[in-house]
């Protein structure tokens, strides 16, 4: 996973509350096994019924074509747990989201993919969003994960909180599966213990095939 340290880039505002993953990465007719995730991103909002680009959608505006930061509202990424929502944002070039809160599944998927979700208190988030709107893509913002600080045009630097473990995971670009695989011996020990204590959990047998025997 790509490490996250300091990111400088254009910030775009998408400030609706409760933006769901069906909006971010819709299940489109004709979706391929490996879709073009950049095309998939907000596919319904970005294109009109006739297939042409919707010039009013924020990510279609020329000043936000290179956006790397997205200012968001409350509960961004709610709904389905589909990871394509994060892959779509990454494919567009977005590496950091700054808002009032993210849905649990979506936030987990961000951490799995080197995407930084920054949560700010409501008033601070509103102030940051206002600066993003005012900048209108004319000057970049900087996110420093090491210093836990946001900076950019229109005001003072903003400090943000993030759980230390999540911060380290992003900074080090840690492979989550690799982290857990270090505990293989403990997993095996748990399995052996559970096979004695609750044997029905360690054996998922179709009794019609095993003639009624478990284990």
């Amino acid at each position: 996973m790509e490490k996250f340290s300091i990111l400088t880039g254009i910030a775009a505002p998408l400030l609706d509350d409760d933006v769901n993953t069906d909006q971010i990465a819709p299940v489109m007719p004709g979706r391929a096994l490996k879709p073009n995730y950049a095309e998939l991103l907000f596919a319904r909002a970005r294109r009109r019924d006739d297939g042409s680009d919707n010039p009013d959608f924020v990510l279609n505006k020329p000043q936000f074509g290179q956006a790397a930061i997205l200012a968001t509202g409350r509960n961004f990424g709610c709904g389905s747990s589909r990871e394509a929502a994060v892959w779509g944002l990454l494919a567009f070039g977005i590496r950091c989201l700054v808002g009032k809160g993210f849905a649990d599944f979506f936030r987990e998927n961000c951490l799995q993919n080197g995407m930084l979700p920054v949560v700010l208190p409501d008033e601070t988030a509103d102030a940051f969003a206002a600066r993003v709107v005012a900048a209108d893509g004319s000057a970049p913002f900087t996110v420093d994960l090491g210093a836990q600080r946001l900076s950019g045009p229109g005001g003072a630097d903003i400090a943000f909180e993030i759980p230390e473990a999540d911060r380290l995971r992003l900074i080090e670009g840690l492979d989550d599966i690799g982290l857990s695989l270090r505990h293989t011996a403990e997993i095996a020990a748990w399995e052996a213990r559970m096979a004695r204590m609750q044997p029905w959990l360690q054996a998922a047998c179709d009794r019609r095939l095993t003639n009624g025997r478990i284990g």
Binding site: S81, L168, E186, D206
Partner: protein, 470 residues
């Protein structure tokens, strides 16, 4: 120290605490589907990581599978590559797949309970946000993304932060034609779409205790719609009776041993929850959504709310946007709204109990002119049983499409979709913009309410229809 149901399951499944402070929670049963699993298989194989416990892993074809009777691999050309990749990935990794043509194929959240793969006190993972459905049997279930699915395949654990504890008590008694679907929509309306974030929800109270398992599965299904990752009901005799004799449930001495364990699972009398909510169900009416998220819910006797009466600017803006999309004006009565399409199905409401409720309304009636009405059973087993009871004949004679099992129009991943501006009454879980097709206006309801809409061509209070009043 007194413990909640979730605490007990959590502690029993805690393998260790990882360096970063996350708990490694062992996953007893893992059920995959074709929309996400092929991607995870590919990544796993590229990293040369084997599947740790194929014997605890199962797979279904549900999201992209066609529902047309007589369907084949290519009936939905877009689904075909997903289904083939699922089949090949399952074979390579030694995972049992409930494939197209299998007598037990169906939606994962329907198949796993009915086969007894889901057990009280067990942990369960599915790469789908409605994994929480199976909490209805007292299992602790987690949805997940694709990387987490890969994680479970490689390690058989999930790396989680312990959720906070929320108990929702549903007290009183549900009236005629009022179901746990209505209760769930009411809970979401009261708590909001992010009100459950960070919590595991335990559903309790007289209404839950009196509900059959299928109704509990419906209740737990909608847990994610208030932002909580999981929800469950303490197992009791209703759950044990449901599970006894199912193919994957233990039997003989193992069953007796399991039963003794399961009886100790309910939350201790004095267990402490971080938050508690009580819903009074006396007087609860059938619910209908009017907007574009499941919290946009009113009683069928109600009217579309007026955004002008809402103080929060952001909520007001969202309501205006929703009304615009739905083609509705504030103050419009929900009952009487003309509709174009009805979909009965999905992991929320596609079980035999649901289909019986639909049949009770449809019997002797016809689908209204101009309405397209689909019924898609949640599993091939449900379909077979419904046919054995003659329900399919009632549906077909009334003019319903009677499909093969799958997720179908819930998310439209198999090509079953509505047309722009169609008003669709649906027993599913999400009324998001565009989810059932571009421009489709979804109203979520329970199964009998959907049946009433189909036969009258309007949103209709099923209590009035069922009572025979004009």
């Amino acid at each position: 120290m007194p413990q909640t149901l979730v605490d007990k399951i959590w502690d029993a499944h805690l393998v260790t605490r990882r360096l970063d402070g996350r708990d490694l929670i062992y996953i007893d049963r893992h059920v995959l589907h074709e929309l996400h699993a092929p991607h995870a298989f590919e990544k796993l194989e590229a990293a040369q990581r084997p599947v740790r416990r194929p014997d605890l892993t199962f797979a279904v074809q549900d999201h992209t599978i066609a529902t047309l009777p007589g369907r084949g691999d290519d009936s939905n050309p877009q689904g075909s590559p997903f289904m083939k990749a699922m089949r090949e990935g399952s074979r390579r990794n030694g995972i049992r797949l409930f494939d197209l043509g299998d007598p037990e194929q169906g939606i994962s959240h329907v198949v796993a309970p009915e086969l007894g793969m889901v057990l009280p006190g067990a942990t369960h993972a599915v790469p789908d946000s409605h994994a929480c459905t199976v909490g209805g049997l007292g299992a602790l279930a987690f949805g997940c993304g694709t990387t987490e699915l890969e994680h479970v395949l490689a390690t058989q654990v999930m790396a989680l932060k312990q959720p906070k504890r929320l108990r929702v008590r549903a007290e009183g008694k549900l009236g005629p034609q009022v179901t746990t679907k209505d209760l769930a929509l009411r809970i979401i309306a009261e708590l909001g779409v992010s009100g459950g974030r960070g919590y595991a929800v335990e559903y309790a109270g007289a209404v839950v205790r009196a509900s059959p398992i299928e109704a509990r599965l419906t209740l737990c299904n909608l847990t994610i719609e208030m932002g909580a990752r999981t929800g469950l009901v303490a197992p009791d005799d209703t759950a044990f009776e449901y599970l006894a004799g199912r193919p994957f449930a233990p039997e003989g001495p193992a069953w007796e041993q399991a039963l003794a364990h399961w009886r100790r699972l309910p939350s201790d009398e004095d267990a402490v929850f971080d938050h508690e909510v009580t819903i009074d169900c006396d007087g609860l009416e059938p619910q209908v959504t009017w907007g574009t998220d499941p919290s946009h819910t009113v009683a069928v006797t109600g009217r579309v709310p007026d955004p002008a009466s809402v103080e929060d600017a952001s909520r007001r803006a969202a309501m205006l946007k929703a009304l615009d999309y739905m083609g509705l004006a504030p103050g419009t009565a929900l009952a009487g709204l003309p509709i174009d399409r009805v979909f009965i199905g999905s992991c929320t409401n596609s079980r035999l109990l649901d289909l019986e409720a639909v049949a009770a309304i449809v019997r002797g009636r016809k689908v209204a002119d101009g309405v397209t009405a689909l019924i898609v059973p949640g599993s091939t087993s449900v379909r077979r049983e419904a046919e054995a009871r003659g329900l399919d004949r009632i549906f077909r004679e009334a003019g319903f499409f009677w499909g093969e099992s799958g997720c179908s129009m819930c998310a439209g991943g198999n090509g079953d979709r509505g047309k722009p501006n169609e008003r669709c009454v649906s027993t599913t879980n999400r009324n998001f913009e565009g989810r059932q097709g571009r421009g489709v206006r979804t109203h979520l309801v329970g199964p009998a309410m959907a049946a009433a809409a189909a036969v009258t061509g309007r949103i209709t209070d099923v209590r009035v229809l069922a009572s025979g009043a004009p």
